[in-house]
Symmetry: C2
Subunit: 375 residues, 2 copies
């Protein structure tokens, strides 16, 4: 079956080279990394080499790199620990964050542990940095700012350095959900004022079930999961050995080929945008699509008609994989909290196309042809 | 290199059939299980079939089965939720629990959220059930009992049905860390009064980084990790698809061959015990070794001498993999909290041998020969 997969922001295929790097640990090198004998030491070495490699790529220190079960666990840990261990009594976030952030801050709010402020959005979906500064300047309690680096539904990019500087100025803790950008954009953590970032290998051709948690060495927190002394007492539980090795390998590959791959993927996004404008009347795009936007994501709006409402269904039966909002809201009937926050009452059908290096112009052409037929 | 791996309570090799079952999901079936199109649905089907299979084997309902990143996360979730959501203000545990339990209850105790009671141990390391009943009978607040099914260091088995009946009688919540028994012993959860059990695939030839969390349908709790709606809102984060498929396959294999495998492994344990007694003067064994004991674990004590103190080191250079206490305390110099709790001041060198179906009598013979030389 010929499938077109334009949903790479939901998950990506595992790179064969990554699987190859994982295979020794899925077969003969199966030791428990906490064991001191040979089997354990070779497993431990796999983990520590992965940590060093990830740290080097992100310009961090290996002692700042932790492995978790995924971006969601990392964000939960960062936010919960900022309140429990770092004294934050006020959280500033935005209404377009991922649910890993929103549901965690709302849980803390319901437990009466924090005051909660939502920063205003500009009409193009960007964070209103003037409002953020105003919130920070008027805050009376220690504050956590949690804002995502790239929005997973519309692709808008936050100026993470600028937000970091604001947080530094107002002595706030800064957590950024970087799940859509780790493995997609270069990081220079040494020169970025951020306390916590997160990552998920399956967003950049790595395995599922393994995440990154960066903790800046200036802060000290307690674990979210207690138990054994793994991850230097920061994350208990026998390590997901192959996942960790796969995370590092996937990040290495994406870093090596960043210039060429990102330029190519951007050209696909631009081509798709241009073809949509050419062939689909009244199509519009979400977010700052030609400005500060992730090169992988194109979120398009189609006027609401009987035909467009069947769009996701028809894409599916034609073996085209796309999302409504994010993977969690793929059903056409489910509303997107992101679009709801940006538009008062969105009256169009939104499709998120998200690309990877394996996609082609020919696939874009096929999808455009299909769209012309369907609409 | 010829290695003898007698540390199967720390971790096990991944079964080739399990890896084979995982491979389609590591290659072409890479969809996000939350996506509604074809790729997503085939991933979703993999997860739901795994859930049904696990539920059937454990005599539970599929809606009671959740997948987490491991046994440690499952125990953290159970214990934390019992306090936060089920009103438990008193925890009864034992001093020989796994750190996933002990460090979690101690964290809650330090946060002044619970009263903490440690049940007495009998001289053979078993839980004193009369003391447990006394603690339950005199409890003035809603109580959580958290006691492990099989001790990972000495192999003692808890009468989980009996403890469940006591908890029922005194209206207590019961969590059992069953990481050493899921995949090793049959379960009949329908007829066991337990609210939470846990499991870890890598303890029975499944993959690392994937755990079981059973929540009895009579209780309703909030998640430990907030975010997306995965696992019916109980555990957020893109699912570890291959891990889940691998968990179910490993459990199926272990269940199919339970009678033969457990009898064979028990024969190895008994043979090793008998040979140790025959050849090593003054050797003793921890726990109820010939009574209620897991067939996989044999914990032996050697009189403390200059030679025995180098035992683990010498085992290692001879490519024999064993533990001191558990994997987390493999270093000879680290004390075991389990042995410390049972003996006042243990003055011997303890080695945990733990077996699997791939071990042989010949390997036992080799280890005995080695021991005779070393001591």
């Amino acid at each position: 079956m010929h499938r077109i997969y334009f949903d790479n922001a939901a998950t990506t295929s595992l790179a064969p080279e990554v699987l190859e790097a994982m295979m020794p640990y899925l077969t003969e090198k199966f030791g428990n990394p906490s064991s001191i004998y040979s089997y354990g030491r070779e497993a431990r070495m796999g983990i520590e080499n992965a940590r060093k490699s990830v740290a080097k790529i992100l310009h961090a220190h290996p002692s700042e790199i932790f492995f978790t079960s995924g971006g969601t666990e990392s964000s939960n840990t960062a936010i919960t620990a900022s309140v429990r261990d770092l004294g934050c009594r006020h959280i500033i976030t935005s209404p377009i964050e991922h649910h890993a952030t929103l549901h965690t801050v709302q849980h803390l709010y319901k437990e009466s542990k924090v005051k909660l402020s939502y920063v205003k959005l500009l009409s193009n979906g960007h964070i209103d940095l003037a409002d953020l500064e105003n919130l920070l300047a008027t805050a009376t309690q220690k504050t956590l700012v949690t804002l995502m680096h790239a929005n997973n539904e519309i692709g808008n990019l936050l100026d993470i350095k600028k937000v970091g500087e604001l947080c530094k100025q107002y002595n706030a803790i800064f957590h950024s959900d970087t799940v859509q950008t780790v493995g997609h954009l270069p990081f220079d953590l040494e020169n970025t004022h951020v306390h916590f970032i997160t990552g998920s290998a399956h967003k950049f051709h790595g395995p599922k079930g393994i995440g990154l948690f960066y903790i800046n060495r200036d802060v000290s927190i307690q674990p979210h999961i207690h138990g054994g002394a793994q991850e230097r007492n920061m994350r208990a539980g026998t390590e997901n050995l192959y996942g960790i090795v796969g995370f590092a390998k996937a990040l290495e590959i994406s870093t090596e080929n960043y210039e060429a791959d990102s330029a190519y993927i951007l050209s696909l996004k631009q081509y798709m945008q241009q073809e949509l404008i050419k062939h689909i009347p009244a199509v519009t795009f979400n977010g700052d699509v030609n400005g500060k936007s992730l090169y992988t994501v194109l979120s398009a709006n189609f006027p609401q008609t009987e035909k467009s409402e069947m769009l996701l269904y028809n894409f599916d039966i034609n073996h085209i994989c796309v999302s409504g909002g994010s993977a969690c809201s793929s059903g056409a009937s489910q509303g997107s909290h992101v679009l709801q926050a940006i538009y008062d009452n969105p009256d169009f059908v939104t499709v998120r196309f998200s690309f990877c290096k394996h996609n082609t112009k020919e696939e874009v052409d096929e999808v455009i042809t299909m769209l012309k037929t369907l609409l």
